[in-house]
Structures are given as C-alpha cells and as structure tokens.
C-alpha cells in the first residue's frame, strides 16, 4: 500500500537496559549512590546474619522434636486415626474444589500438598512421627489428586460441594470429640486437644459462624424496625467496647453463674463462642460500611421492577455491599486468626501455649525461646498470608462489572 500522506508510526519508548536502569534509579547523583551503597551493606549484613543464625547457630531441637505436640497437643496418640479420617475428608474435598473453582483453591491445594510433604519428611527426633503417619501424609496428596480427577469425571454442583464441606466439618467435630455411648468412639475431652488443631478450630469456626451473624447484625442495625436496630446497635457497641481477653474471661467466670452447677460448658466451646461474638461485632461494622456504599438508586431500581424487601437485600444490596468490603472483612478474619492466641488466657492450649509449655516442661530447652517463637510466628504468617492472598484473588475475580 502506498499512501500520499506520510504517517509516522509512534512507538512507546524502548524500555531501558539493566545498566541504564541502575544508573538512572540507584546512582543518579552522589547522595543516591551513597544511599544505595549503604543499603546494600545493611541488607548484606542482615541476610548473612540471619542465614548464619538459622542454619548454624540456632538450636531447632524444641521445634523439631515435638511435631505432634505442635499439631494436636495432648490428643491421645492411639486415637489419632480420627484426626486422620478428618484430614482425608479435607484432602478429598480440597481436590474437588480445586477442580471446580480453580484460582485460590488451586493455590490452597498446592500449599496443602507442600504441608503434607513437609510432614512426611519432617526431620523429627525424640517423639517421632511414625512411619505409617508419614506414609499417611503422602497418601493425602494422592487423595487430593483423586478428588481433583473425581470432579473432572463427574460434574458436581457447587451447592453439593459446599454442603459436603459443612458436613465434613460436623463429622470431624463428632469424630474428634467422640460419642459417649459408643465403645468404638470414646469421649476425648477437649482439655486434651491442643496446638495447631485448636488454633484452626477456633479460627475456622469463629470465621464461618461470625460472618453470617455479623451480616445479620449489620442489617439489623440499619433496619427500620426500632427494636431490631436498637438491639443490634447495643450488642455491637457493647462488644466492641470490651477487649477480647475480657470477653473470654467474662465467659469463663460469668457464664457458669447463670447455669446449674452440674452443667459445665466446655472450655474450648466458651473460647469459640467468645471469639465468634467479638468478631461478629467487628464484622457487622465492616458490612455496614459496605451497605452504606450501595447507592440508593440500586434499591429504587430493584423496587421499581417489583422485587420485595428480602429479594432486594439478598440479590441486590448484599452482593454489592460485601464485594466492596472484602479487604476489611479478610483483615478481620486474619486478626481473628491471630487473636486465637488469646484463648491461652482461659487455659485453651492453642499453638502458642503449646510452644510455651514445651519450653517450660523441658529444662534442656532453657534459652531456646527465640527458636520456638520464631517457628510459631512463621506458622501464623503462612496462614495469614494465604488468607490475604485469597482476598486479593477474590477481589480480582469479583471485580468484573465494577462501575
């Protein structure tokens, strides 16, 4: 094609080479150059010191020696098969969810497999993971894959998968605590549960129960019925005005006063209820922010097409409100997860208190607090980061149709 007019093709500027980039950004003048050099020295010093400490100076034996204590606390070792059964259910459902939803679930499945590998090859000394346990960890990876292929062969509806997750949570709790009447499943008091198991039960239970309660409280607070809105507001404000550790102790001391002496509420359950109520109040305020962000025009349009109040709330308002507040909601989930450590205050043996009791019970570990607490911090960080990552993926996935 020849054209009479000369049109110059305008290209975006070439991206600069590495050396040019370094010169322009790190050594553009002598102050920047000096700062770059100093920063490099500091980074080098921090990295080498940390690496040297982690791999040579630190004594990881309190962490490496007691993997089962960190995982399950004092849960009777001969009853561990129940935990295994629960874990297998999780593996299967995770595989199914991975195939069904991909995205975040794929990442979770990879991380899960990684955890299982770490478990299988844990360089344990002392009270070791037995060979069957290690093999069982590896089998779980296969079960996850089996779930993946199962979902590939058979189309399973999302509602069924969600139902199966709920059912598996209930079955797991029954399995873990046992049924008094059955010989096969003797009762295991929650006083023996501990470690990561308890931390995860508190966190997952707290999150899944506090979320719907928080949504209802937020709707209640905005309700046009005065009774509902006053009750919701009082509940939210009272709970938000009290520190979590206060709520937990209150539940421990006050609840028994109202109940007959022979009826003792389980300590773990008390912690769970306390955390749920606390988290629900904060959740309610987050959701309320989202509700306020939905324009009035949306509600008017929904009314104009004839939807009733319930339909407007569930189909129009909540989907938009919740999407707007994913970041603060996940932030709330993460802080709830970390706040599980406060349950130690009412003698629930979650992960942190297990670490502390390991240190206290063994005189040979004196001076090794750093190793234990860094390990526990790392575990908390991994789970918190996974949640934060899931939140970002969810925002992206739901970002379609943003105004």
């Amino acid at each position: 094609m020849t054209t009479t007019t000369q049109t110059e093709v305008i290209r975006p500027p070439e991206s600069p080479g590495l050396w040019k980039w370094i010169r322009e950004n790190l050594f553009s003048n002598w102050i920047n150059g000096l700062l770059t050099v100093i920063s490099l020295i500091v980074i080098y010093w921090v990295v080498t010191t940390s690496v040297r400490w982690v791999f040579f100076a630190a004594d990881w034996s309190p962490v490496l020696t007691n993997p089962l204590l960190y995982l399950v606390g004092q849960y009777p070792r001969e009853e561990l098969w129940r935990l295994g059964a629960s874990l297998a259910m999780v593996s299967l459902l995770l595989g199914v969810s991975w195939r069904k939803w991909g995205g975040v679930m794929r990442t979770f499945a990879y991380m899960y497999a990684l955890f299982m590998l770490i478990g299988a090859f844990w360089p344990a000394q002392g009270e070791t993971l037995t060979m069957p346990m290690r093999i069982f960890f590896l089998v779980n990876i296969l079960v996850t894959l089996a779930g993946y292929f199962l979902a590939r062969v058979a189309a399973i509806r999302s509602a069924y998968i969600l139902g199966a997750w709920t059912a598996s949570a209930v079955i797991s709790l029954i399995l873990l605590s046992g049924v008094e009447a059955l010989n096969l499943l003797p009762k295991v008091t929650t006083g023996l549960w501990g470690g990561l198991l308890v931390t995860l039960i508190l966190a997952i239970g707290g999150i899944t129960i506090s979320f719907p309660i928080g949504v209802l409280l937020a709707l209640g607070r905005r309700s046009s019925l005065p009774v509902l809105s006053v009750i919701s507001t009082i509940l939210i404000e009272v709970v938000r005005g009290v520190p979590l550790i206060g709520i937990l102790t209150l539940f421990s001391i006050i609840l028994p006063l109202f109940l007959p002496p022979e009826m003792r509420i389980d300590r773990l359950l008390r912690a769970l209820v306390g955390m749920t109520i606390f988290s629900a109040a904060y959740m309610a305020e987050n959701v309320r922010g989202g509700l306020a962000a939905v324009p009035d025009g949306q509600i008017e349009a929904a009314k104009a097409v004839g939807l009733n109040g319930f339909q407007i709330t569930t189909l129009i308002v909540l989907p938009q409100a919740l999407r707007a507040v994913i970041p603060p909601i996940v932030g709330q989930f993460i802080s709830l997860f970390k706040d599980t450590t406060l349950a130690a205050g009412i003698a629930v043996l979650e992960l942190l208190s297990v670490g502390r009791s390991i240190l206290q019970a063994n005189p040979e570990y004196i001076g090794l607090q750093t190793e234990v607490y860094i390990f526990i911090a790392a575990v908390f960080w991994i789970f918190s980061y996974l949640m934060s990552y899931a939140s970002r993926r969810l925002e992206l996935a739901l970002g379609v149709g943003e105004r």
Binding site: P295, Q298, E300, A301, A304, E402
Partner: protein
C-alpha cells in the same frame, strides 16, 4: 368495562396529590388523568416537582394527601397493592441504575424470574427479544460497566419492559447522556410510543415532545401550570411562566 370503554377509561388517575418534605410543599394538588396508550411529557424547571410526581406513581415517594389510582388499584400503605402496581409500571431512571454485579441479560431476566416466577428459559428468550428490540443483543453477556451510557439506558428500558408493564415511567432518561447517545435512546422511546405503550416522560427533549407526545404538562413550584397538546403548548401557550420557560430552553 368492555374493550371499547376500556380505551376511554383512564389507566392513571391522580386527584389532588400532595407531598411534603418536612415543611417543604413539593406537590401542591396535582390532578391528572392518563388514558391507555397516551404519551405524556412532563417538563418544567428543576425543583418544580416533576420527578417527585412521577416517583409517587410507583410509590418510590409516598404522597400524603389525595388519591392515585393505577389500572384500577389505589396506591395506599397496602404492600400488596404497591407490589401489584410496581409490576404494571416500569421505570427508567436518569442514572440508569443497572445492577453492576449482573450481566446485561441477568439484569433483564431478574425480575421476571423472581417476581413473575417465569422459568429461566422463558425469561431469557423474552429478554433476548427485548435486547434485540432496543438494538443491543450482542451485549447480553457483558457487564453494565463495559457499556456506553446510551447502551446502558437501553438495557434499563429492556429491563423495565421485561416485566411486561402496562405503563412506562421515564424520569429524565437522557439527562445523564453524552449528546451523541441521546438519539439512540430517544429512537427506542419513539418506537415504544408507536407500539401503543402508555408513557409518562419527564424530559426537556422538546423535539421528542413535539413529535411523539399526545399531551404536555408544564410543572412549576409543585403545581401543573399549564397542559395541552404540543400544538397548544409550543404555539399558543397561555401562561407567562410557560412562555418564559419555553423561551429559556428553546432559544439555544
């Protein structure tokens, strides 16, 4: 109430409709009767109560005195009556108000499926027919945010029509649009008017009023100052306020 009489029987009757916002008297006794198939244009300065009035017709605003009877049903506090009337009166808003978390076709099929309880297949079939009628069937799977203003407003019209209403209320449907998109929306409204739909349109599009409307109502300070055919209003306005307003919007 046979067919012949039905055509003469008004589908909208308003008698002495009043509305206050606190102490502000927004509507001061509106009387209006609209017959089936009529196209009514309501115009007037901002704050004259024209939007408030059209919004009382499907109870987005509550009137405090007088009577509003739509298709034989009186608007009152009875929620069932309100829901019935909202099924019969579709509404199109200035700001479109599409549901941003739903695709175009989901926007259109939502109410028929949830309110009229149509099966999904039927709702989608009729929804696609409507999207074709407003000229954007190819956008069915997109989200509103990916559409131009004119396209969004046409989806909003399709969404209102999907409930198969007897009346369509338009509240300044082209005021939020860029100039080049006004025509595509007006064309849809003209086609709708020609199909015999009863329409109440709050608008300043005087070209549309002149060529399509049967009667025009001039609102000022919460009252109907003057009404008549476009011929009367444009060529022989009786009231000074009408003349002044028309001169203001028609000179440039």
């Amino acid at each position: 109430m046979n067919d012949q009489n039905g055509n003469h029987k008004p589908i909208i009757v308003c008698k002495d409709v009043h509305k206050w916002y606190g102490d502000f008297h927004a509507l001061k006794g509106i009387d209006m009767e609209v017959k089936k198939g009529e196209v009514i244009v309501i115009f007037g300065p901002s704050g004259s109560g024209k939007s408030t009035f059209i919004r009382t017709l499907n109870r987005l605003e509550e009137h405090q005195r007088g009577q509003i009877i739509i298709d034989g049903i009186e608007l009152s506090h009875d929620v069932r009556n309100i829901e019935k009337i909202r099924m019969e009166a579709g509404m199109v808003f200035q700001q479109f108000n599409l549901f941003p978390h739903m695709t175009v076709i989901q926007n259109v099929t939502l109410a028929p499926m949830r309110v009229r309880k149509w099966p999904k297949a039927k709702a989608e079939e009729i929804g696609m027919e409507l999207l074709e009628r407003v000229g954007i069937p190819e956008q069915a799977q997109k989200y509103p945010a990916n559409l131009s203003g004119g396209q969004q407003q046409r989806v909003a019209i399709a969404r209102a029509l999907a409930m198969q209403p007897k009346i369509m209320l338009f509240d300044e449907p082209t005021s939020a649009l860029d100039p080049e998109m006004i025509k595509e929306v007006l064309d849809v409204m003209i086609e709708l008017a020609e199909s015999g739909m009863t329409m109440l349109v709050v608008t300043h599009e005087m070209g549309f009023a002149r060529s399509v409307s049967d009667r025009m109502f001039f609102f000022d300070e919460g009252q109907i100052v003057e009404s008549g055919t476009p011929q009367d209003i444009f060529h022989n306005p009786q009231e000074d306020r009408t003349k002044l307003f028309l001169s203001q919007i028609l000179t440039h």
